[in-house]
């Protein structure tokens, strides 16, 4: 119980650092100096101390959403912590459903202010997430088919999950966190009406969600039976993912929205491949 509590606090504390690391690496690869890795923390502090503007069209859904989103991500953090762990398929699946709860409210809040941007973001977010869900399900399926061991199957699952993570954390090539260009933004379009502490809470939730997804991939790649090195192994894999995400963001351009189906279709095929590998016991 105490360990789980410590883990949750640790997750919240580290989560913004990963985003900072990703942008630092991106900048360094582009031969720029870039902001400090602690920039996300400064941003959060700034947002939490600022006045908030709320649209006069918004209802209580808009006001409660940041808290619901944060609560759902927090519940997910506890779910994957030592307290409950991911050792059963049921918990893994529950993770998908808990993320869906946060997303449901986020997309409703985006529609709530009556801005076209919100509707656009909400529609696209639901579109992408509904295509992500079968891939997530299939990777979890393959992984549990195979048991908790490092194998060909689990590596392919992890790759499929990595592609899904790019989509879920609104990274290039699916979305771009750095832009506010009206025709391309997805996640940012939903947040457009948020400011001050609400925006801070949502950003913190996004960092935390990213951390959880990275951790899940690490958890699939580093099998449970290496328990003594478990912690170090997980950290190594998470750092590797951070570098991979940064490189992907630098190397690729954002896709057209309707090309995302191809991207996620590829992830789905990888998922199928890992199921086949799991079937063959490879």
């Amino acid at each position: 119980m105490l360990l789980a509590f410590a883990q949750t606090i640790l997750f919240i504390a580290i989560a913004p650092l990963l985003s900072g690391l990703i942008s630092k690496i991106k900048n360094n690869v582009r031969m720029r100096k870039g902001a400090s890795v602690f920039q996300p923390y400064y941003n959060l502090i700034k947002l939490f101390s600022k006045e908030e503007v709320i649209s006069d069209t918004a209802s209580w859904i808009f006001k409660i959403t940041p808290v619901v989103v944060f609560a759902s991500v927090l519940a997910a953090t506890i779910l994957i912590s030592d307290f409950l762990s991911l050792n059963s398929a049921g918990n893994f699946l529950a993770l998908i459903f808990i993320f869906a709860l946060g997303r449901f409210f986020m997309t409703l809040a985006a529609l709530d202010t009556g801005s076209s941007f919100g509707g656009m973001g909400s529609s696209r977010e639901m579109f992408i997430s509904s295509l992500v869900e079968p891939v997530l399900c299939l990777t979890v399926f393959a992984y549990f088919l195979n048991g908790h061991a490092l194998s060909f199957c689990s590596v392919i699952s992890a790759i499929a999950l990595f592609l899904v993570t790019l989509a879920e954390t609104s990274r290039i090539p699916v979305d771009n966190q750095e832009t506010h260009l009206e025709l391309t933004m997805i996640h940012e379009a939903m947040l457009l009406e948020y400011s001050g502490k609400s925006l801070g809470l949502i950003e913190l939730s996004s960092h935390l969600k990213q951390m959880i997804l990275f951790y899940v991939i690490a958890w699939i790649v580093v099998p449970v039976n290496f328990s003594e090195f478990l912690f170090l192994g997980h950290i190594a894999v998470i750092i590797a993912i951070v570098i991979a995400v940064a490189l992907v963001e630098v190397a690729l351009a954002k896709m057209r929205l309707f090309r995302v189906t191809d991207f996620l279709g590829f992830a789905f095929v990888l998922g199928m491949l890992s199921v086949v590998c799991g079937m063959l016991g490879a």
Partner: protein, 599 residues
């Protein structure tokens, strides 16, 4: 054979019918004259009782009679609402499709009677092992297609999206929540309990149809703009989820994995019960919205959360439950169904694993699309600014209507949080139905999660609910106390200064990405018409987009045309001459005499 299965379905029928009955009094008030209302209420009671009869009788003939009463009374209820062509047409499609289904069922019953020489369920069950395998397959197919027509399984679903929206809302709520479930009862009773599952191919066939229903239902639900039609299509999807559990259970029975069979049957039963509750709730909410705005087109709504705060809250709960969000009841049953797939794949072998994996991922896709569908439904209907005067003048509905919604919304929450208790009870029903002795089986219902290894803490729904509630409330309190102030201001409008309802995202726009992604199936087309004053200035702009109703255009319309053509051809033997008719009677008599003599 009045057993736990009948009792379970009786429970489902009454738990939705009672709030619908309470709701109906104020819903009908002001729409019709007192005499019409009285007649409608009598019909409604007959309808509820006929459904109760369907699930309790123990005799094929009695079953058919009550089935027919149910169909006819529901037809009358469907046509009762509209004083327009639409209702009559919807009722026509409904009654024709229902009777095609009934014809299949009667054929299956006749074959069963031939072997048993009795109409009694118990007698048929006792001789069912003597029926040869091929005949059993035929009976299965007849029963499945017969009941699937009533359940609205794709491609026999054609009547459902017409009939359910046209009925008065409380009737839709009963039809969608309960009546289509009587068809599931028929499948469980006759295929599983009486005939006995012999071949895994039965379950696989059901699962294939179920997956098609799930996806087709939810994709169409994302496209349509009529609030009740969205719910009707979503019923097709949910019937698919229920049948997935049922089919899976049949596969496991034929493989003799009794533990898994009972587990997936529990998931199926629980989803059936949950769907009855939240779909009943959502139809009542839709009826409230219709009553308040006098339109069913969600593009004309918006901003209703401020005009009808309570209806909005109940509708939000229903939408969350149907999108399978924790900790509500829809989450629990979908979660269990997915776990049944996972667990089945551990135990099955070969390509069965792959099949189960694909089914599970399609179920996940359905869940994602359903969430999108209900974000659209709730967001466009209740949020942002009113899109028309209909919505602007809306007022909260009467107390008795809100009470009915409140009751079902509470059940949605209770059935989610106390799922462990309820699935414990359902496990007995499922075990009895599957013909399995479940006393030795241990279901970890405190956790509702299955695992291969023991000794691992599992997540439980009450714990999850508790966590979510505490975090939300605590978070909200801290959030309010802490930080700088708030300011109310206009939505950012890019300096346009005229942001109004015309700038809001519409339901059609919301579903555009889905329309493009599934264009191979939806075959969308659009028509644009620009009228220009000059080259630079477009005076008016007309835009029209539609999808092609694939099933209607490529299956049903050609069939109907063929039927009329052949009827025209057959009319040649009916020229209206009495002499010829007497000749026909004479020839028939002769033929009969020869036939009887031979036997």
């Amino acid at each position: 054979m009045f057993d736990l299965l009948s009792l379970f379905f009786l429970f489902v029928i009454f738990i939705v019918s009672l709030p619908a009955l309470i709701y109906s009094f104020s819903y009908l008030k002001g729409e019709y004259s007192a005499k019409q209302i009285f007649l409608a209420q009598v019909l409604l009671c007959v309808f509820i009782l006929s459904m109760a009869l369907v699930v309790t009788v123990t005799n094929l003939i009695a079953f058919l009679v009550s089935w027919e009463i149910m169909s006819l009374v529901s037809y009358l209820l469907v046509v009762s609402d509209g004083r327009n062509e639409k209702s009559v047409k919807a009722g026509m499609i409904y009654i024709v499709m229902t009777h095609i289904g009934t014809a299949f069922i009667i054929a299956a019953f006749l074959i069963m009677y031939k072997y048993a020489n009795s109409f009694d369920f118990i007698v048929i069950k006792s001789i069912s092992s003597t029926i040869p395998a091929n005949t059993k397959n035929i009976i299965f197919l007849l029963l499945f297609f017969g009941f699937a027509t009533k359940a609205g399984v794709v491609p026999m679903h054609i009547w459902l999206p017409y009939a359910h929206p046209q009925a008065p809302s409380h009737v839709s709520s009963i039809m969608s929540g309960v009546m289509i479930k009587t068809a599931i009862y028929g499948m469980i009773r006759f295929i599983m309990a009486i005939l006995g599952v012999t071949s895994p191919s039965w379950g696989i066939l059901i699962m294939i149809f179920a997956v098609i229903s799930c996806l087709t239902g939810v994709i169409y639900a994302l496209m349509v703009k009529d609030i009740k039609q969205v719910l009707a299509y979503s019923s097709i999807e949910n019937i698919g989820i229920i049948l997935l559990g049922l089919g899976l259970s049949m596969v496991f029975i034929s493989f003799k994995f009794y533990y898994l069979a009972v587990f997936s049957l529990i998931a199926s039963f629980y989803h059936l019960l949950n769907h009855a509750i939240f779909k009943g709730l959502l139809f009542l909410c839709a009826g409230g919205v219709y009553k308040a705005t006098e339109t069913r087109n969600i593009e004309k709504m918006g901003g209703l959360i401020k005009k009808m705060p309570q209806t909005a809250l109940f509708c939000l709960i229903g939408a969350m439950a149907i999108s399978a969000l924790p900790p509500l009841n829809g989450f629990v049953s979908e979660w269990m169904t997915l776990q049944a797939f996972f667990l089945g794949a551990f135990n099955a072998s070969g390509t069965m694993k792959l099949f189960l994996g694909i089914c599970a991922s399609m179920l996940a896709l359905t869940g994602g699309l359903a969430a999108a569908c209900f974000v659209r439904l709730f967001g466009i209907t209740f949020l942002a600014k009113p899109r028309s005067n209909h919505a602007n003048n809306a007022k909260e509905v009467s107390f008795s209507m809100r009470f009915a919604m409140f009751f079902l919304a509470c059940l949605t929450i209770v059935f989610g949080i106390f799922a462990a208790k309820i699935t414990g009870i359902i496990s007995k029903i499922a075990a009895e139905t599957a013909g399995v002795d479940a006393t030795s089986m241990k279901f970890p219902f405190d956790s509702l999660s299955l695992t291969r290894g023991a000794g691992i803490w599992q997540i439980s729904v009450p714990l999850l609910a508790f966590m979510l509630a505490v975090f939300t409330i605590a978070g909200f309190v801290i959030y309010r106390m802490f930080g700088a102030g708030q300011r109310i201001y206009k939505t950012w409008d890019c300096g346009y200064y005229k942001l109004g309802q015309r700038n809001e995202y519409t339901a059609t726009a919301f579903s555009k990405p889905f329309r493009i992604a599934f264009n191979f199936f939806l075959l969308p087309y659009r028509r644009m018409n620009k009228i220009r004053e000059s080259f630079y200035h477009v005076k008016t702009f007309a835009y029209e987009t539609h999808t092609v109703p694939v099933f209607k255009r490529y299956i049903y319309s050609p069939f109907v045309i063929w039927v009329f053509k052949s009827a025209k051809f057959m009319r040649r033997i009916q020229p209206g001459s009495i002499h010829l008719y007497l000749g026909y009677i004479f020839v028939t008599l002769l033929a009969l005499i020869i036939f009887v003599h031979k036997i």
